[in-house]
């Protein structure tokens, strides 16, 4: 569904990508926790021009009831793109792609959640892509993970995520939309950095065994960097909340 014009130069002879980045460099990443007041936890993530809101509701009752599990919480996840977030307006009804991504994002997050703590209840993760410029599922995981933690859901670890691409034969981190469309490979990746567990791994494109090993190691390194930013966002949120409470006392 995309034009594959191998001649398009996505990376210059001196190793710079279209936006000036080096192969192992991620885009500027802003994370803000607690941005949506109604949600129990929320986060806003900007990674270059990829912009995402995530909200967490729960633990709360499951409707309909028969979907509840007696010994653990059910994690539900909806990844959704606004109609205007992509180049051609998309219908707001969920596409097959959105349904698949909702599933893999849920499976990327679930290993980090201590689900046994909330039997018979649901934890809902809602993700809205406001603007899409590549690597939206990884940015969604970054945002959702912070939203979960800011909702006070007990977690074994945060989940960090970063995609690896291959453009003009070179493995690169944090793929943009144009690199995805005209490049050779997109490999979304997520892990719990502290526990060293990969929770999301997809490959769309051809890689040899050594390339896969290298790609995974690049992604893991990037995840550690992103992990720090996630923790910082949570710290800032904590400081903000403390300030609000203290101001509350003062008035």
């Amino acid at each position: 569904m995309s034009i594959k014009s191998k001649e398009l130069t996505l990376i210059s002879p001196d190793g710079r990508r279209l936006d000036g980045r080096r192969p192992d460099e991620i885009r500027e990443l802003k994370i803000k926790a607690g941005i949506l007041e109604n949600a129990d936890g929320s986060a806003y993530v900007e990674q270059g021009n990829t912009k995402i809101y995530a909200a967490v509701y729960g633990p709360r009752e499951v409707h309909p009831r028969h979907l509840a599990l007696p010994n653990r919480a059910v994690i539900r996840c909806r990844y959704h793109m606004t109609p205007f977030s992509v180049e051609e307006r998309k219908s707001p009804a969920p596409t097959r792609r959105e349904i698949e991504l909702s599933k893999v994002i849920r499976e990327a997050l679930t290993p980090a959640i201590i689900v046994e703590q909330f039997p018979s209840s649901a934890i809902d993760v809602f993700i809205e892509v406001i603007n899409a410029d590549g690597s939206t599922r990884c940015a969604s995981i970054i945002a959702a993970s912070v939203a979960l933690a800011s909702a006070g859901i007990p977690m074994k670890d945060l989940v960090a995520a970063c995609s690896v691409g291959k453009i003009n034969g070179v493995l690169v981190l944090d793929v943009t939309d144009v690199e995805d469309k005209y490049g050779e490979v997109d490999m979304p990746f997520a892990m719990m950095p502290n526990r060293n567990e990969i929770t999301l791994l997809q490959l769309d494109g051809i890689l040899g065994p050594e390339e896969i090993e290298k790609a995974i190691s690049m992604a893991a390194k990037a995840c550690k960097e992103i992990y720090e930013k996630q923790k910082n966002a949570l710290k800032e949120r904590y400081i903000e909340l403390r300030k609000t409470v203290e101001e509350g006392f003062r008035t």
């Binding site: 109604n38 021009n49 912009k51 995530a54 909200a55 959704h80 109609p83 205007f84 977030s85």
Partner: protein
């Protein structure tokens, strides 16, 4: 029980001229408008009305006109109440509230002729611009209607759409590098009043919405009304209606000023 207590508390405050969030009866909540944050949209705006947050995006595409208006562009307004915005919103196609909101905003824009649809005709009867206005609720703390309408208006005002060209063969091509504003004829402003007991308040927040008897939403253009929607499960007298419209008109002036400051619009 609890709604009844809340209603009583809100009414007691109102009878002494105050509201639960400290506002006066005719005060709007603080308004924040942030335009052009969505790169993939031709136009976009995020609007905060207190803690209520809505986003609107404008996308354009080439389409065919309706058979009975062969020389006019097409405008479509759609609204989604996302589950991200409220514990009471569920995933799925728009419910009656989202559909009503979209249709009320649509009527306001259409009757005010905000976008001059005649200028969006490319080849009469064959090709016209379609303008898609998508509104998404992100946080619902009451009066999504006005926040959404404002977001739609700001997104339209700041949209920069590509140019369409017709070549010798009569084929339509799009030049994405050369962008221009949409043809704007007016700026309609939507204001919602709530009736609680015998009081009228402007821009109700979520607590007030939950206990209100009725709502009156009006869209103003140049001091005239171009769309009204009475909502809610109780009635209004003719006098209350006229009074509500009068207050709303003043508030529309305020909001129009804010819009002009932010976007420098016509």
């Amino acid at each position: 029980m609890i709604p009844k207590l809340k209603r009583q508390q809100i009414m007691d405050l109102l009878s002494s001229g105050r509201r639960v969030d400290g506002r006066g009866l005719e005060d709007l909540r603080p308004v924040e408008i942030r335009c052009r944050s969505v790169k993939n949209a031709e136009g976009s705006a995020e609007v905060r009305l207190g803690k209520t947050l809505a986003i609107a995006g404008v996308k354009t595409s080439i389409g065919t006109p309706f058979a009975d208006t062969p020389d006019m562009g097409v405008m479509i307004v759609n609204a989604e109440f996302l589950p991200i915005a409220s514990p009471t919103f569920e995933p799925g196609p728009p419910d009656e509230n989202a559909i009503e909101l979209a249709r009320v905003i649509d009527r306001g824009l259409r009757r005010a002729e905000m976008i001059d649809l005649k200028q969006l005709c490319i080849v009469p009867g064959k090709a016209v611009w379609e303008v898609w206005i998508d509104i998404h609720a992100l946080n619902h703390d009451g009066n999504l209607m006005d926040a959404s309408a404002l977001a739609a208006v700001a997104a339209i005002l700041t949209a920069e759409v590509p140019k369409a060209m017709v070549n010798e063969k009569g084929e339509v091509t799009i030049n994405k590098s050369e962008r221009q504003r949409l043809p704007i004829k007016s700026i309609p402003i939507t204001v919602t009043m709530a009736k609680i007991g015998d009081k009228l308040v402007v821009d109700p927040n979520l607590d007030e919405e939950e206990v209100a008897d009725a709502f009156l939403t009006a869209t103003f253009v140049d001091d005239k009304v171009c769309a009204i929607q009475k909502r809610g499960e109780r009635g209004l007298t003719a006098e209350e209606t006229m009074k509500a419209l009068q207050i709303a008109r003043q508030k529309a002036h305020e909001l129009l000023k804010t819009v002009r400051e932010v976007v420098g619009g016509g």
